[in-house]
Symmetry: C2
Subunit: 363 residues, 2 copies
């Protein structure tokens, strides 16, 4: 088991990563303020892992409320959130009840936002079951739901007490979701860790074959990179660089996701196509060269990710990007690659270049 | 103008109290990170004060989004909250937009929760226009909405950057709402400030006549009392005493409000009747005597507040009280009066005594 400590201003928490950590019940029990948890999962994950998680908890005397939601990003809505509140209230969960998220990023975001706002905040524990959730949602405390006008528009920062990331559960993860997680793993290499990018170029097939050791290494290194970025900018208030760097490919990616309608593409798939757009735009600004863009595309392709954007039309892209949270004081700020392994934020990118990059990457 | 500084762990903010402070635009402008505000008000307050607030802001170059909601506690719902999000998104408000609440407690709770969760949190400023909001919502950072199963069940702690409390706006406040605010003012005397309680007994009629000096004094002293309590227990995590003391009369009061349906009684009216129940229960436990209970009733009556509870039936009361947030680890904790001017929390009050107190105070 690898353990990474995420140090934040007012609290620190551990991420435990490895084979079989899901069965180490004490990792969870030791963080409960009362013997009362509400486990939030979805209809795909619950049949596989819910009882494995809760049976030992119950044997330990913990009272468990099970909340199973429908699966998918299109359910990351107020209605689904409210069904969590209904279940918590129906079971008379009080402020000492710990909300446990057992699932991917959608479950983490929903359960985390429920924990942040149920009775103005209850303790939260994450048991991420997708690669994406293990490398992305585990660190940073972002929770939230979608709004018809934009992704993650409503939410809160709410840190978990502990994260338990079992690499074994990735064996049941669909191929598409494994790839989607890889988009974020590759991102950490691109934005700030060239040696990790090189390691990924050497080991991407091991990861795709779900080699446990390779996965544990990639998850830990991804979380460590994210933790370093987040520690310097917990609430994404830095105007430049800081936490915004984690959004490489996300401004374009969110536009693709929203434009196609939530659920058409997985988040990581949209980010992959968006990352190619960001790389292409970086090339147009003279920061990286065509060989670098090809290298980015190649690695994403080996991770079985899409590298061509949805054909939404330029105007629709710009409109959707204007609603992105990375718009700062009304101006569009983009995360671009100064070189491979080093990202930077930039405002005032000429709209003509943005349009050209989108156009190039949509055909 | 009186200014009270509320000191909290990670930030401090000022409450400016007095005649005409609404017109001191700089009190607000000096706290804006960008020249962009969204003012949330309701259909009763907006015609009276919205333009007076926003015209000078616009003259100062601030871009203003006006959001006018329907009036009343029954609108403190997800649907209304979502209409705020819709308006913020339609006007492309970004993370540097400051949300300003212009109204009473409902507007403060809704606008504050919107500020806490819009794009995971934007700056918030309060301009409370009711006595209740000036003495209660101004301090403590509680925001939220109601759920069909309970009041304020969904919410967040979110502190304002500044509070501007103009005593002049209380001249247009309906009599019932002035009285409702008095319930909370009297509460501060009862729970921790006997000299203030005695001052209130000497000056309640001046307050009811809306004497500006008396009001400013009562608001400042109420806020100072609340600030001292909140500073010691920002997130209401203390098991005993601490912030829970502010809930004198509220466990019974919430049961009355919920049992009658939100909107039947004003919050302060329900709290007044609940305060008499808490006083009566304190008498039954031998802590205060019948003369003390009479003194509490008398002061509330002089403030034109109800002192008799709704006839919901004992079982319904107990059921509704069981859902109250002050239930700690499944046990009902009540706030009671050790003596006038000193409150304490108590678990394990015999149910028979609770029933008898409710019964006595409902007829």
């Amino acid at each position: 088991m690898r353990t990474l400590t995420v140090a934040l201003s007012d609290q620190a928490y551990d991420i435990h990563i490895g084979s079989g950590v899901l069965d180490r019940t004490q990792l969870i029990v030791s963080h409960l303020p009362a013997e009362r948890v509400a486990v939030v999962s979805n209809s795909v994950v619950a049949p596989l892992y819910l009882q494995r998680l809760v049976a030992p908890l119950r044997a330990d005397g913990v009272r468990v409320t099970e909340i199973v939601l429908p699966d998918g990003e299109r359910h990351k809505t107020w209605e689904t959130l409210n069904s969590i509140f209904d279940a918590l209230l129906a079971d008379r969960c009080d402020r000492t009840t710990t909300v446990v998220a057992l699932g991917g990023g959608v479950i983490g975001d929903l359960a985390g936002f429920a924990a942040a706002t149920y009775q103005r905040g209850v303790p939260f524990i994450q048991v991420p079951t997708t690669l994406l959730a293990q490398v992305d949602s585990s660190v940073g405390g972002k929770t939230g739901i979608n709004h018809p006008r934009g992704k993650n528009m409503i939410g809160a920062f709410w840190q978990p007490k502990v994260v338990v990331a079992d690499t074994d559960v990735l064996t049941t993860l669909p191929d598409r979701e494994l790839s989607a997680g890889m988009a974020e793993v590759i991102k950490y290499g691109l934005i700030r860790d060239l040696p990790f990018l090189q390691w990924l170029e050497a080991n991407v097939e091991r990861l795709m074959e779900r080699d446990a050791d390779a996965l544990a290494y990639a998850i830990e290194r991804s979380c460590a990179n994210k933790a370093e970025v987040v520690a310097g900018d917990e609430r994404e208030t830095a105007k430049d660089n800081g936490r915004a760097l984690l959004n490489l490919g996300h401004t374009f990616g969110h536009a693709i996701e929203t434009g196609l309608g939530y659920g058409e593409l997985l988040h990581g798939e949209a980010v992959a196509a968006g990352t190619v757009m960001a790389a292409e735009l970086s090339r147009r600004l003279g920061w990286i060269d065509a060989a670098d863009v090809a290298r980015v595309r190649e690695l994403l392709i080996r991770a079985k990710l899409p590298v061509v954007g949805a054909r939404l039309g330029i105007d629709r892209y710009l409109d959707l990007m204007g609603h992105d949270k990375k718009v700062f004081a009304g101006r569009l700020r983009l995360v671009l690659l100064r070189q491979l392994g080093e990202a930077t934020t930039l405002a005032d990118v000429p709209v003509s270049e943005i349009c050209a990059a989108i156009d190039t990457c949509c055909s």
